[in-house]
């Protein structure tokens, strides 16, 4: 990097904007002075300070979501140069210009780059992605989890509900009510936990209902796109095996719960 050159260098952005959830999207172009170590979020903040397009038009500040700024919360996901990813870890030095920013359209757009990700949280509620330990009396300690299994489960627990896998999936779209890979992998996580396993059949039966596991078409875009490297397609295939057994159990098995 040549220090003196950075003074004159600029960064161009083409940003897809949308004023209301129902209005038509449109593009606006911005040009910023380059600064070392810029990321997409710092650029968006820069635009917010002075929202003027390259044509010199004064416009509104761009709306986007962000929170942790270290790729663990998932809030700042957007489509950057065609790929869904977190804007906090999208470094300008590593991006081709002009940098194109667009919202993840798999989700309802709230405004500009801000989307409503609640469908994923609704899915987590639907599949009961938690371990029920509340009771009216002290239930005592649960069964132990082997350390090796805990380390393995930790990888699945890295999911930050960012929505990148849903955006990448060709079967998650307005034609289908597929819940997508994200809640499915959480089913595997909570079914693997020794206490969570007590509700295993319940979770499996939930993902065997409409909009569930069977909608997966094995494009495997999710596992390629997941920023946390979660083995989503292994989770899906493992759940396919579990639900194969569960469906035989449901049909041929006894009435035992």
């Amino acid at each position: 990097m040549v220090e003196t050159k950075s003074e004159t260098k600029t960064v161009r952005f083409i940003i897809t904007r949308q004023d209301t959830p129902d209005s038509a999207p449109y593009d606006e172009e911005f040009e910023l002075a380059y600064r070392p170590n810029m990321n997409v979020i710092s650029a968006l903040m820069e635009i917010r300070r002075n929202p003027v397009t390259v044509q010199g038009k004064h416009t509104t500040a761009i709306a986007w979501d962000m929170n942790c700024l270290e790729e663990v919360c998932g809030a700042c996901s957007m489509v950057i140069n065609g790929k869904p990813r977190q804007s906090c870890t999208a470094l300008i030095d590593q991006l081709e210009q002009p940098v194109r920013l667009a919202p993840m359209r798999t989700f309802p757009v709230v405004r500009d780059l801000q989307v409503d990700r609640s469908r994923m949280f609704d899915s987590l509620k639907k599949v009961k992605a938690w371990i029920p330990i509340d009771g009216t009396y002290n239930l005592g300690p649960g069964p132990r989890m082997p350390e090796k299994k805990r380390q393995w489960a930790y990888e699945l627990s890295k999911c930050m509900t960012c929505g990148v896998c849903l955006e990448a999936c060709p079967n998650v779209n307005s034609n289908s009510d597929f819940m997508g890979p994200q809640p499915l992998s959480q089913v595997r996580l909570f079914n693997a936990h020794p206490t969570g396993a007590m509700n295993k059949a319940e979770r499996l039966n939930t993902i065997m209902s409409d909009g569930g596991l069977a909608n997966c078409g094995n494009s495997q875009n999710c596992v390629q796109s997941c920023p946390k490297g979660i083995p989503l397609t292994t989770s899906i295939a493992a759940l396919n095996r579990d639900t194969t057994i569960q469906q035989f159990r449901n049909f041929f098995g006894s009435d035992e719960v």
């Binding site: 569930g212 069977a214 875009n221 639900t243």
Partner: protein
């Protein structure tokens, strides 16, 4: 559609593609291959199949009903997807797209194929070597059959791969990768069988 039938419908779709449709495809390709041994071998194989007992029962329950279900539900699956190869050009995403495309091509091919052979047979035409040689006297039909047969074999081979995933047989990435190679070999070998049968009539 009734509520919560999706899982069962999908699993049935996956199963029927292999049993019985896939098994019938194998039988059909092997019978066709008899044409490379000369018209007499092909004719005797075809006449043997015509004379098997319970022929109509078997045709309806082993071939036509499973095929119609697989086709109708398959069209629904294919048109539910929104392909995104432009943004995600991964190998498996290509296979996802080609599986749906080859399904549609195969269906168009099969409608024509059943019309020009089985239905003509029902209307009194003799199904034999000469009938196929007559069809292949048209170069367009050779091309059409090549596309149709290869598309069918691709759909079957890649369908075997997703069958293995959908039923939870291949779970680990390694087993899925090996299955990719296995189904690729199946595709190449069956394509050889299918294509050499076509050229036996030319």
């Amino acid at each position: 559609m009734a509520k919560n039938r999706e899982f069962g419908n999908r699993r049935l779709h996956s199963l029927l593609g292999v049993i019985p449709i896939g098994l019938f495809l194998l039988e059909h390709l092997v019978t066709n291959y008899m044409a490379t041994k000369g018209p007499e071998s092909f004719n005797s194989a075809a006449h043997f199949l015509e004379s098997i007992p319970f022929r109509y029962f078997l045709e309806i329950f082993i071939i036509f009903l499973p095929l119609i279900y697989h086709a109708v539900y398959g069209i629904y699956i294919a048109f539910t997807a929104k392909n995104n190869l432009g943004r995600f050009g991964f190998f498996r995403n290509w296979m996802f797209f080609l599986q749906r495309l080859s399904g549609i091509i195969t269906l168009i091919f099969l409608v024509w194929h059943v019309w020009s052979t089985r239905i003509q047979a029902a209307l009194g035409t003799e199904v034999d070597f000469d009938m196929m040689a007559e069809i292949f006297s048209n170069p367009f039909m050779i091309a059409f059959y090549l596309v149709g047969v290869i598309s069918t074999i691709f759909h079957f081979s890649n369908g075997l791969w997703s069958f293995a995933v959908s039923w939870g047989l291949t779970v680990s990435p390694k087993s899925q990768k090996i299955m990719t190679y296995v189904t690729l070999i199946v595709f190449v070998l069956l394509s050889y069988v299918g294509v050499s049968a076509i050229f036996a009539f030319v």
